[in-house]
Amino acid sequence: MSNDQSSQPDTLNSAERATIDSSVAAPVILFFGTAIFWLLFGSVFELISAIKLVWPCFLDGCALLTYGRTSVVSVNALAFGWATPAAIGIGLWLTARLCRVELARYKSLLAAGIIWNIGTFVGVAGIFVGDNTSISHLNFPGYATHILLLAFILIAVWAIVTFNHRKSGPLYVSQWFLVAGFFSFPWLYATASQLLVWNPIQASAQPAIAAWFAGGFFNLWLAPMGLAAAFYLIPKAVGRQINSNHLSLVAFWSLLLFGAWSGTSRLIGGPLPAWMVSVGVAASVMMIIPALAVALNLHFTLDGHYAAMSWSPALRFTITGVSMLVFTWVFTAINSLPAVSSVTNFSDITRALNLLGYYGFFSMTAFGAIYYIVPRLTGKEWPSSCLISWHFWLATTGVLLAVSVLILGGLIQGFALHDIGVTFRSSMDFIFPFRFVAALAALLIVCANLAFALVFAGLHWSLRRPGTAPALIAVREENSQEPVAV
């Protein structure tokens, strides 16, 4: 990966960009549109589950809406209906742009997108009728996971073939992350499905594989895809070069090396050989290295040029998302230390860290990328800067509120659970007010997602005349030296 900048001129002009964009537009818009549907669907069920935790008799008359189904449906609809297709859409556009080649057979990708959504629908329906596998993040029954894997292989093959036909010069950092992500997901998903869903191995070994998959799904699939978007959008939007390719290398390789191992730290105290948990703890702590490398690299890139964050939706969402990734990794490292996790394990802190990673980092970064990508694919500007602003503040407030109350409440709950003199019932009473506020925060997140869906639908139905100015969520000074960055 030699990076001689002098030999890497910007060979892509506007006409070539337009050609590449129009070749990927149909599948990318399909992935984004269906992803936003599942985002709304999943977050509504997350809200229902959060209400059930504080008011158990809510909607208790219907077997389909019991907590065991709503919470599992929300996790899986968000992971496989929203996050994964959004990552695929971003990955397809970035691959074509960065490899500087047009997409040859977009119809196979359209087919893959449709198959993927059929698989998600079958999986969610399977959970509703009671075929949940009870393995976190792999709850879809076996007949749905085959469909998902088939669709993903179509996509990954396309991504790798495009990568091989690239016309670009030296690889850019986003391309490393894209290739890593497109290889990791089928590896993780096929292995975990084979060992846990299709032909389950002996029960005592299952939790370790489930934890490995849950850790890998975030660290080796969603994190690389989100970082690929951030490393493309941020320097491009502010018109500056990434500060250091050495820091990018450190971030990339440390993430790939430690990310796959970090999942098992949550099994502390479980019936597993001690070394499995200790490896997870060591890897989780070492994840501080990619966290710092990403944070420093992007900060040095943006230093003194943060102004565009105030008016550009794409930049504001992406930078917020990446900063939450840094906090996710640092908090996960602290939470994995045996002295800490012996108290916080099984408390709501796990819920807080999941929310921070999946919504705070990945969803926010994906929102930023979608705000940047879709106007280029459709040639239309976003219809309402006011709604985008609402989307940002509702999402940020919701996720930060939920994460802070669940961490505070989780500490109290964890100490109560840890104290052998305190009854389980009392620990539930202690966490109750915090869960109440977390349910309110889930409502804010649903409203944020609704605002996003409305903006997206408004653009699709051309509520704004073409040729109008781009949607800026704050006033940009007349004589600002910064680029428009949207």
């Binding site: 990076n3 910007d10 892509l12 506007s14 006409a15 070539e16 960009r17 337009a18 050609t19 964009d21 129009s22 070749s23 537009a25 149909a26 742009r97 960065l98 047009e102 977009y106 850019y172 950092v173 320097p235 491009k236 939007a237 018109g239 070069q241 990434i242 500060n243 250091s244 390719n245 050495h246 820091l247 450190v250 440390s254 019936p271 050989p273 001690a274 070394w275 200790s278 490896v279 060591a282 890897a283 702590v285 070492m286 501080i288 290295i289 710092l292 040095f300 045996p338 106007p375 280029r376 694919l377 040639g379 500007e381 052998i420 003199g421 305190v422 009854t423 781009p470 680029p483 428009v484």
Partner: protein
């Protein structure tokens, strides 16, 4: 050629006209070659060093049958056996607050006229004719009818607790006999088992009269087999 090319149609020779968002884009991103900050290298080395030490000390020698790393040395020696059992008094306190505190109160003082106290009660720490076997029997089958405790008469019903396991009953009794200034010897799970076997499958609550007919047994301070008859009374004998 028409002026408008649908954006989702693959290009066939004719490239679509660039739209406004594409036209305002900056150049494709690239990277500078600034060095990695020195302090980050040092910090990374410290973190990796710590992680290695942690792994070495807590891996149980990478043996598949070691589950508790704290019992195994870094070279793999040690038993890795089960964890030490928790203090029965602490378990007893939790079980007491779950099951008993509703009537006898967390303070062990009971409710005047309704529920008898446990603090310094001859029924708990032993009396003239009241032994440790009576205390266990009351927990197993319950008690009803008039009863004298510390000179006051109570007339109420206590439900049976035979659904609790021997070690749970032992934990509760050990707790109430050593808390609030009470200082009687602990009751072991083995002793509860003996009394449970001796009581057979009695389900009816005891009365004071029935209990008085049973000779008292008292566990000696050494914690060995119970001795009969009762030791000298530390509290006033109940007026039966």
């Amino acid at each position: 050629m028409t002026s408008h090319t649908p954006s989702n149609e693959p290009p066939n020779g004719e490239s679509p006209a660039p739209n406004a968002p594409v036209l305002r884009e900056g150049p494709e991103p690239s990277e500078k070659r600034a060095p990695v900050p020195f302090w980050l290298i040092i910090l990374s080395a410290v973190i990796i060093f710590w992680a290695g030490i942690h792994l070495a000390l807590n891996s149980g020698g990478f043996q598949a049958n070691v589950y508790n790393p704290s019992l195994v040395s870094w070279s793999g020696g040690g038993s890795g056996g089960p964890a030490v059992a928790p203090d029965p008094k602490v378990i007893g306190k939790r079980l007491f607050s779950q099951n008993c505190a509703v009537c006898h109160q967390g303070s062990g003082m009971g409710v005047a006229g309704q529920f008898p106290p446990l603090v310094a009660s001859e029924w708990v720490v032993g009396g003239a004719w009241v032994g440790d076997n009576h205390l266990v029997k009351i927990l197993l089958a319950g008690m009803q009818g008039p009863v004298q405790v510390k000179g006051n008469t109570y007339n109420n019903a206590m439900p049976p607790w035979s659904q609790l396991k021997d070690d749970q009953i032992a934990a509760i009794l050990t707790y109430i006999r050593s808390e609030w200034g009470n200082a009687a010897v602990p009751i072991t799970a083995d002793y509860v088992k003996t009394v449970r076997a001796a009581s057979g499958d009695r389900k009816d609550p005891w009365t004071q009269k029935e209990l008085k007919a049973i000779p008292a047994e008292t566990i000696p301070a050494g914690g060995a087999a119970p001795a009969a008859p009762a030791a000298p009374a530390p509290a006033a004998p109940p007026a039966a």
